[in-house]
């Protein structure tokens, strides 16, 4: 190292700081670093940040020291796009001098030479004051403080009638130098010989929807196509969703089309899987004519916007054997020795209705042409009003491709949000987030016990990945009906909904959840029976017992409570009953504190005594505080950190409690 001051472990960061960390507009970002040097001198540090490519000055914020050489400051980005930040530190000679003089005075040691050292520091800084009126005033103030330090003993004390004591005299000589005003003038790195800058760090700033949003997935063909979907939008918006997400809307291949329940033989009326993209009617840029027209699609996007929602589209880079690209660009696909195009397989699983693009081809022009075609698809749909892309299976395409594609899209459209559907190994999932994905599907679906949820929730909100990976919690998807939801009672559907919606600012459900659809494809198959992927569903949305009102309440609570809309500040509370999980969320300033309590047992009433960290939540230890249940409307008055809770799942498996100091 060349610098005397070490600036290490700057956060937020991706693992090797090769890619930007993530933030959203308007939400404070805690920047921290380890800052230290040899010896005992006092350091000062600041955070400088600005949008990338902005010629404007850096915004500067003083950092403050926590414990153990860790420093922090907060920045709040105002615009989307790439930002840079840098931590700078220097030795604060004047603060060091002040401390030394104070300690020596307390110890009764002589400080005459120290006073002269202080005068020299003040005068050196005065010399750096700029020309002009303001600079002249600074020069004068610092000069006066220096002059006072140099007064001979006793000369300054003309206030008292009695002969001045030496200590009183020294206090008078020190008064200006120790004043707040002089402290302010002496702050900052001017004249510091060891001003040191840490690495320049990247921070990608998204719009708020990337950080928080409730999603609803539906198949337009089950709603009667795009026109029918437009009609359904008001109900979806009424439930409080922010995003309505559509599986692929493109023409579906006929070759090897799958029939009901994933059978290999499709009947003439079977609609096929929307993920088998491409047919004579067109490929990824086309709309399936069975769903409607591009005008209908435009109307859908417009109507969603009127209702305060956005349309998310599936971005699934795979083709049916009938996709135009298969014929126009055979070099983008892997050919087998018998001349056939390789279909997707993960033995013993086979996807005969899908052939995989080869995005790492080595033939002439094949790689970059294919990449460009994929980019064009994304840009076409962005031009049609889609700013949220749910990316199908990104873990089966090369990382460098995604980095390239997301960078290109963001260069023109920084507002686009990419959700990675990578149900794969943890390091692959984290890497996709690192290289640019805005949000990530998670293992939430398979985390059921209190211990599993606690470990996973802590990892996602406190671990290194929290700097760049935004989890999205889905109780179900068209592919996944898992755990206690399989054949499960409505209490489980409520509990899993509350968990998803309050453990993660981003969450979503796949339609049918509100009706408690719970029939698995088979004992060892995680999919649904009569999967909507292969057939059209007709649902009765007005069926009694629908969870729609419950969902509406949950989403309304999320909108009222900023504590539920930020990823950080999730704290699990100890519970003496593993069937009861409890956790709090709070805003940085503790103006909003929410405690969620869920009975994970859908059949039996359970009770528990909790242990809350009241101090950390800004709540009183000895006085009463209020726990207002946003679900039931009940208000409890609690005293102390160990409230007792009881939840009968048949009535209501959860509390979502707004905690506040008593009246």
């Amino acid at each position: 190292m060349k610098a005397r001051i070490a600036i290490d472990q700057v956060r937020p960061r991706t693992p090797n700081a090769e890619h930007p960390a993530k933030a959203v507009v308007g939400e404070p970002v805690r920047v921290s670093a380890d800052i230290f040097r040899d010896g005992h001198d006092i350091l000062a540090a600041r955070l400088r940040w600005r949008p990338a490519g902005d010629a404007a000055d850096w915004t500067e914020i003083a950092m403050h020291e926590l414990t153990n050489d860790a420093w922090e400051a907060k920045l709040t980005p105002a615009v989307i796009g790439l930002h840079h930040f840098v931590v700078e530190a220097w030795t604060d000679a004047f603060a060091t001098w002040r401390r030394k003089v104070t300690l020596k005075l307390e110890a009764g040691e002589p400080i005459e030479v120290d006073l002269e050292e202080g005068a020299l520091l003040l005068l050196a800084r005065a010399d750096l004051a700029p020309a002009g009126k303001a600079g002249k005033a600074v020069k004068e103030e610092l000069g006066a403080a220096a002059e006072a330090l140099r007064q001979p003993c006793g000369m300054m004390d003309t206030r008292g009638a009695s002969p001045p004591s030496t200590s009183h005299t020294i206090a008078a000589r020190l008064e200006l130098a120790m004043s707040e005003q002089v402290g302010r003038l002496m702050a900052g790195p001017a004249g510091a010989v060891d001003l040191t800058a840490g690495p320049v760090m990247g921070l990608w700033v998204d719009r708020p929807l990337a950080g928080c949003g409730a999603w609803y997935e539906l198949f337009p063909r089950s709603e009667g196509g795009l026109v029918g979907t437009i009609e359904r939008l008001s109900a979806v918006a009424g439930m409080g969703f922010d995003v309505v997400y559509l599986p692929p809307v493109h023409p579906i291949g006929r070759t090897a089309r799958k029939g009901a329940d994933n059978s290999l033989l499709a009947g003439p009326d079977d609609p096929g899987s929307p993920w088998a993209i491409g047919a004579a009617e067109g490929g990824h840029e086309a709309l399936n004519p069975e769903l409607g027209t591009l005008d209908d699609f435009a109307a859908l996007v417009r109507r969603a916007g009127e209702l305060g929602m956005e349309v998310a589209l599936d971005y699934a880079l795979q083709c049916s054997p009938d996709h135009p690209w298969v014929f126009q660009h055979p070099e983008w696909f892997i050919r087998r020795p018998d001349g056939s195009v390789a279909y997707a397989e993960n033995p013993p699983k086979r996807y005969q209705d899908i052939v995989a693009l080869d995005l790492w081809g080595t033939g002439e022009g094949s790689r970059m042409d294919a990449w460009q075609a994929c980019l064009d698809v994304a840009l076409v749909w962005v031009a049609r009003g889609v700013s949220v892309l749910r990316v199908d299976n990104p873990h089966t395409k090369p990382f460098p491709f995604w980095e390239w594609l997301i960078t290109r899209v963001h260069a023109e459209h920084p507002e686009v949000i990419f959700l990675a559907e990578a149900f794969t190994r943890p390091k692959v999932m984290a890497k996709l987030a690192e290289i640019g994905f805005s949000q990530s599907y998670t293992y939430f679906t398979w985390r059921n016990t209190a211990a599993e949820l606690t470990d996973y929730g802590t990892e996602l909100t406190q671990g290194p990945v929290a700097d760049y990976m935004r989890p999205s919690f889905w109780p179900n998807t068209p592919d996944i009906l898992s755990g206690a939801l399989r054949g499960g009672p409505i209490a489980t559907f409520k509990a899993r909904l509350v968990l998803a919606a309050t453990l993660s600012p981003c969450y979503g459900i796949y339609s049918g959840y509100e009706l408690g659809e719970n029939e698995p494809a088979s004992e060892d198959n995680e999919e649904y029976a009569h999967s909507e992927k292969y057939e059209i569903k007709h649902r009765d949305w007005s069926a009694p017992g629908s969870l729609a009102p419950y969902i509406t309440r949950i989403n309304s609570i999320r909108r009222r409570h900023p504590a539920l809309r930020i990823l950080r500040n999730l704290t699990f509370a100890a519970s003496n009953n593993p069937a009861i999980i409890a956790y709090s969320r709070h805003t940085d300033d503790r103006s909003d504190v929410v405690l969620v309590v869920v009975n994970l047992d859908p059949h039996t009433p359970q009770e528990a005594t909790l242990s809350l960290g009241l101090g950390a939540l800004g709540l009183p230890w000895a006085l009463a505080y209020e726990a207002a249940d946003e679900l039931s409307g009940s208000v409890f008055s609690w005293i102390g950190p160990n409230p007792f809770v009881r939840l009968d799942p048949v009535v209501e498996p959860a509390h979502i409690l707004h905690l506040r100091s008593g009246p």
Copy 2:
């Protein structure tokens, strides 16, 4: 990222991989990395390493996959000095093909096209075989395997009398391609289009003494100077120590010399603190004439060598006001406005007998000239036979200075060991290790309870610092008499000795420990009463109750057990009594397993039931195993993971148990 394959988190490493990690000659180093790519193809990886600057080929070792995309391999360095290593990975197309074919066969799917794909892979590799006889044999073997895959159905099966079944035929066609021999020929990255190299990492390799050693600190003047010290060496070696460490042996200043018990007024016979270096007789390169001559010093070094020990010298970069440098190089010191040289202070503490070198001076020539002078001092003593330097207060000198100095010394003398005496904040301590110090004093002195020792021991042996920081555990130093040792009984001295000697491969004691010297300077002063820093001590080494025989036994046990000489593989065992701490150490191959049990209560017999991870220690769960106490000679026969232990501290506060499977 540009590569398809991610190679992340390569270890061992320093935090930003800017400096080398550490290893010692002959001790296996576990190299690990996260390696993964998109999709489901099988990867292969290898570790390549070599001494830096060596024109010889890299040594290559296959890495194997653990869980969760983590891979590892071990290298064992043979020479000291800087090494480089790099992790490489590639897609193993042939292994991927083998797996696909196997799964398809099991699922009863057609594989005719797959067999042709295998033949093409074999022939492509055959084309890469080198010219010459060996290459020709490879070509033929791979060609034969390809040809077999291409045999028409049924043609190969001539063994049975009954008509061949198709599956039997396919098995015959696959036999060569699936053979071990062909697997070996197809291994390696030849022809891989995605061979990817991780970052080139540095590894500093020290001689074994840097990784493991028992130190004994003594003041030569209390032994009657160097000649007396030479006489004492055989007793020190007899106790089993590897290093005898001497406080500074240079002339001691007279100005502001400290008297007994750190008093400001020295009497005419007070010898002064050896750390107030420099007088009319000379500075850091001179020997205090009161101790003897340079010939005596050479004899001391020689005698230590004959006894299998090394002499460590204090490298204390500070000067008495009488040091020749103060007059020859006033620009190396900070002058105060009154013209005086600033003495060392950390208000309210003052060190009037010491002035601090300014190693960050900005005056002309002052910085690099001072650095060079410090380097010269180190090299002079190295030339006099000292290869171990205990560095006083390195945290009060700039990090870049140490990096420069250690690099320069190591360039000519890679065998030199630097021990950092930085009793300071954890991040500063870790930084000194990161930039080059071979060993580090620790907080062991202030870690007393089982919980404290468990946390600290785990951090030092399993945490990120274990890659580059080697702890040295000292129960006492001339500056520090702390915790239960203050006024403590001999049982505490035994317990702390066992803990230091078995928790860390590097440990040391300051002489007088064996006599149980326990009188603190005062209630709130961590130093000794009648500190040897300011006066000459006369000790009776033959006093009854001396711990010398006990120390001898401990050091002998350390020498017999390789498990106690490596930093890794420390495992704390659960104990149901916080007064009893237990931990095991084992070699990588479990050929040596040692369990240490210590009663931390020096007054009362304590008992506990332990929980041992028998499987991880390579011990049987159901059969008896032996626990042979190396301290008492007792041998216990235990069954199961929960042995019962009882220790009466008045008799013996510890077990050091050699665990081995029963006869």
